[in-house]
């Protein structure tokens, strides 16, 4: 029983990691109906920025963290301006390919600049564990769970309660109509990319003590976070976190109870099963098409 609970808790922690990355996917999708395949690579780049600020320039952890988030927010806007804006409105698949290309580019360039070694950041959460009874939970994992909950709540409030959030939802539904209503659609899209890059950076920095930073970390985790976003239903913020936690728990349970090899496959099998029953994911909206 204790094993089960321990696995459950570490699965939730792992799932929050996926959820945190999936949040970035969902944000961009919610506002622009664009699927950003380079999200994991934005996270990787954020980690490298933080490493540069904290590890190489020796700044305080929190200042370096904030600096990386700000720098990545700007970078997100730049990426949106250069790669995404010219092809907004074209079929989804073109944009998927463009962001795959962007991901390739970022991975290679990061590899060229920072090398191919695993890098590590010293964080306040790097050491120490929390003990509840005989349960053990490391602080670094705890920090990810906390950040996921906080960011998810903030983003949900932002999307549903603020004017800018409402503008984002409107421009996702119908860019032209939103534009006629006086919503600066281009700026809205730009801001969304900034926010999603910032969220990705948070994920990257918090993950640094757990997974380390290397140029392929984004690809590896992105491939897990992506099913998380789909499982929750693209476009639902709580859905992304729920999907992430589900994927994480499935993965850690499969790794513990099933034979070797199931761990990597089980999330995808569950994903396919869910998509069979609910093609729009668990919390996705069914959109009727106009003919």
């Amino acid at each position: 029983m204790l094993d089960f609970v321990q696995q459950l808790v570490s699965g939730v922690a792992l799932g929050c990691v996926y959820g945190l990355i999936a949040l970035g996917f969902v944000l961009v999708y919610k506002a622009t109906e664009v699927v950003n395949f380079a999200q994991g690579d934005l996270m990787m780049l954020g980690g490298f920025f933080a490493f540069t600020f904290i590890g190489m320039m020796g700044l305080n952890y929190w200042i370096g963290f904030a600096g990386a988030v700000a720098a990545m927010a700007l970078f997100g806007m730049l990426a949106e301006r250069v790669v995404v804006r010219p092809i907004l409105g074209y079929p989804q698949f073109s944009i998927i390919m463009a962001t795959i290309g962007l991901g390739y580019f970022l991975r290679s360039v990061a590899g060229m600049i920072w090398g191919t070694d695993d890098l590590k950041i010293e964080t306040p959460f790097s050491q120490g564990v929390l003990r509840v009874g005989s349960l053990v939970l490391a602080y670094d994992k705890l920090s990810v769970i906390a950040a996921t909950v906080i960011l998810c709540t903030l983003l949900w409030l932002f999307f549903n309660k603020t004017t800018l959030g409402t503008a984002m939802r409107a421009s996702s539904e119908n860019m032209l109509a939103a534009y006629y209503m006086g919503i600066p659609v281009k700026r809205v899209v730009s801001v969304v990319w900034a926010i999603s890059a910032a969220v990705a950076t948070c994920a990257g920095v918090l993950l640094a003590p757990i997974t380390f930073i290397h140029s392929n970390v984004g690809l590896v985790l992105g491939l897990k976070a992506f099913p998380a976003a789909v499982l929750g239903g693209f476009g639902s913020i709580p859905g992304a976190v729920v999907g992430g936690v589900l994927i994480g728990v499935i993965e850690s349970m499969a790794g513990f109870y099933l034979a070797e090899g199931w761990k990597d496959v089980a999330p995808y099998i569950v994903l396919l099963a869910v998509l069979l029953l609910k093609p729009e994911g668990l919390f996705g909206l069914h959109v009727r098409k106009k003919v």
Binding site: Q92, S108, L275, G281, V291
Partner: protein
């Protein structure tokens, strides 16, 4: 400019609308037939890969280009074809039999993937195909009694009707070429049949296709099966060409490469698959060539502009250091994909059509002829 007057439906669906087609494709075929006796063995080997990639590209085009179902899992179909060949070969099954068996098995699995994919669209379909490919990759690594796991399988030299065909012989090239040509002709015929018309109708609007009486589910599954089967055939040739296969050859990276083939070639015509395959296969030797020769060329240019020998040598070593940076190839790959999506969404074949039209209409060419419509309303997007 040539005007074709079509007086019947037969005129409209002709494979060769006018004499020019016979001449140009005849010349192309003749060149391809004498190629093994002219080109170096390295280029021949690349040409075989072009044939294999183009075959996969044609298969992918049927699904992605003509039925409108995105797939990022075609490496898995290629793997299934390759492993079927390698496995059956162990039991001394003759080549024609395992070639057909590989196609049939892959087609069957393609249909089985098609069923769950029926209800999925857009991004959900993409992620479902990625999941399928990852699961297949893991099965290949784990099912050791059949696939030999991560150690991979050795593929014996092809023997056709009692004659052994080494993988770098002209005969093997002709075999690949024949498979490619047959695939293309078969696909062209498919596309002008009711089945092909139904595929295109589904791509353009699923709802409209359904209201015209097209059985959408049936044709989607058919499209998946045909596309997978063609990829399976290519997989057999791929296995023979490499003579050794292991699970890590069939990763997501390869699926993305296949999508790049059709994207760069152009998704609306079979020409695109061939052009894209040439591009993808030839970019590797081209980049290697640039890496070796570019530093010297740039230093030469600097010298002609009055740089001293010391500066020129300095420039040469700097450029050489940059060119041999790890990961430069990936960056160039990424830039190429982004540039194509942004500036040439119709691909290489689209560019060729534009150039052709420019000269045909000479002073009257309008850029807007090829402009695509942007759709800003969610509910109007058809996928």
């Amino acid at each position: 400019m040539r005007f074709l007057f079509k007086t019947s439906y037969e005129d409209d669906i002709k494979l060769f609308p006018h004499l020019g087609y016979f001449v140009s494709y005849g010349i192309l075929l003749a060149l391809l037939l004498i190629a093994p006796y002219v080109l170096s063995s390295y280029l021949m080997s690349q040409l075989v890969f072009v044939c294999i990639y183009a075959t996969v590209g044609v298969g992918l085009l049927i699904l992605t280009g003509f039925t409108g179902q995105a797939s990022l899992g075609h490496a898995a179909f290629l793997a299934i074809g390759a492993y079927t060949a390698a496995y059956l070969q162990k039991y001394n099954v003759p080549f024609p039999a395992y070639f057909l068996a590989a196609g049939a098995l892959t087609g069957l699995i393609g249909a089985m993937v098609g069923f769950p994919a029926l209800r999925l669209t857009g991004i959900y379909l993409v992620i479902a195909t990625i999941s399928f490919a990852l699961i297949v990759e893991e099965i290949l690594a784990r099912w050791e009694s059949v696939t030999n796991g991560n150690e991979g399988m050795r593929v014996k030299t092809l023997s056709l009707l009692g004659v052994t065909v080494p993988r770098d012989s002209p005969t093997f090239y002709f075999l690949c070429l024949a498979v490619l040509v047959l695939t293309i002709v078969g696909t062209l015929n498919l596309l002008r049949s009711p089945t092909g018309r139904a595929f295109v109708a589904i791509r353009d609007s699923e709802t409209a296709a359904r209201s015209m009486g097209v059985n959408v589910a049936l044709y989607k599954v058919k499209s998946f099966a045909i596309s997978a089967a063609i990829t399976g055939f290519a997989g057999v040739l791929f296995a023979h060409k490499l003579s050794f296969i292991s699970p890590e050859m069939f990763t997501l990276q390869l699926s993305i490469e296949f999508i790049i083939v059709v994207l760069i070639g152009g998704t609306f015509s079979l020409h695109g698959a061939v052009l894209g395959a040439i591009f993808i296969v030839m970019i590797d030797p081209f980049l290697t060539y640039l890496k070796d020769d570019m530093p010297g060329i740039i230093a030469g240019i600097a010298a002609t502009f009055g740089a001293g020998p010391a500066t020129a040598g300095n420039i040469q070593s700097k450029v050489a250091a940059f060119a041999s940076l790890n990961g430069l190839k990936g960056a160039i790959y990424g830039i190429i994909i982004v540039l194509f999506v942004l500036f040439e969404p119709l691909g290489l074949y689209g560019r060729w059509l534009k150039i052709k039209l420019f000269f045909q209409l000479f002073p009257l060419y309008k850029r807007a002829t090829f402009k695509r419509q942007k759709i800003y309303v969610k509910s109007e997007r058809n996928r």
